[in-house]
Symmetry: C2
Subunit: 153 residues, 2 copies
């Protein structure tokens, strides 16, 4: 009941790559009966190893050709500045990721947009209009070397 065995890890690896593989196909690939596979996948989901399933969309097909990384520094005057910023970021659909970091700045934001003009508007209307944002540094992505790599299991 405790940990992950070798089979569990193989399952997780396969499901990361193809989350819609049929239970039967996955079972035969691993070398297990379909029902056993069903049991294991359900268990992995119940225990939280599998948080969910999702479709991977092609951003360029959707017209989102610009990926930007933004370093954000906040004014640390009022205590709820961080919460306000985090809430605003979670609301913004352009923002795919946002991490609070330790080091030279406070947050790193990853946003996907149509083009530079759209980014310019996003920067002014969303980011810079937030109270407490002291400084931002933008890094447009030239080449996506690796993206959404699977977790090592």
């Amino acid at each position: 009941m405790a940990e992950l065995d070798k089979i569990d890890r193989m399952i997780l690896k396969e499901l990361q790559v193809d989350g819609r593989i049929s239970n039967a196909e996955l079972a035969s690939r691993i070398g297990l009966a379909p029902t056993s596979m069903s049991d294991r996948v359900r268990r992995l989901t119940r225990l939280g190893y599998i948080a969910g399933f999702g479709a991977r969309l092609d951003p360029h097909k959707l017209g989102l050709d610009l990926l930007v990384l933004i370093e954000v520094s906040l004014d640390k005057t009022t205590p709820d500045i961080f919460d306000k910023f985090a809430a605003a970021v979670r609301r913004a659909p352009e923002v795919l990721e946002c991490h609070m970091v330790s080091g030279g700045f406070d947050y790193l934001v990853k946003a996907r947009l149509k083009d530079m003009a759209t980014y310019r508007a996003f920067l002014g209307d969303v980011l810079l209009s937030l109270p407490g944002v002291r400084e931002t540094r933008s890094y447009p992505v030239i080449e996506e070397v690796k993206n959404n790599g699977p977790l090592p299991v």
Copy 2:
């Protein structure tokens, strides 16, 4: 045949959140017959809007408690340095993302590891041992405010 209509966008939005929803359930949610839904999803996949499906795993359940962002600067002396670096990064399972950026440094790397000791080893054995890596700056993530947000469709 050309673009995405309103129904297509709804489908993409739903499939991003739950990629394993049954075709029948998705059809009834959107208000379409199951067979029409099947046609549309197949079309979206064939045209490349849907690049694939995958399981979302919980990194902490897998013991990957440390998320680090690393800015990397390269020596621009030899022309194939960039290719070598990109290839190495694609090979490294700890690296989830790597983007070449325009600005103060060359690459931003996102890596997930067990702990600081593991990161220390990764930094020395993988990153710094690559030829051409001139400088790195590491930013451990304190709080993941937003992660793997869905693309706006």
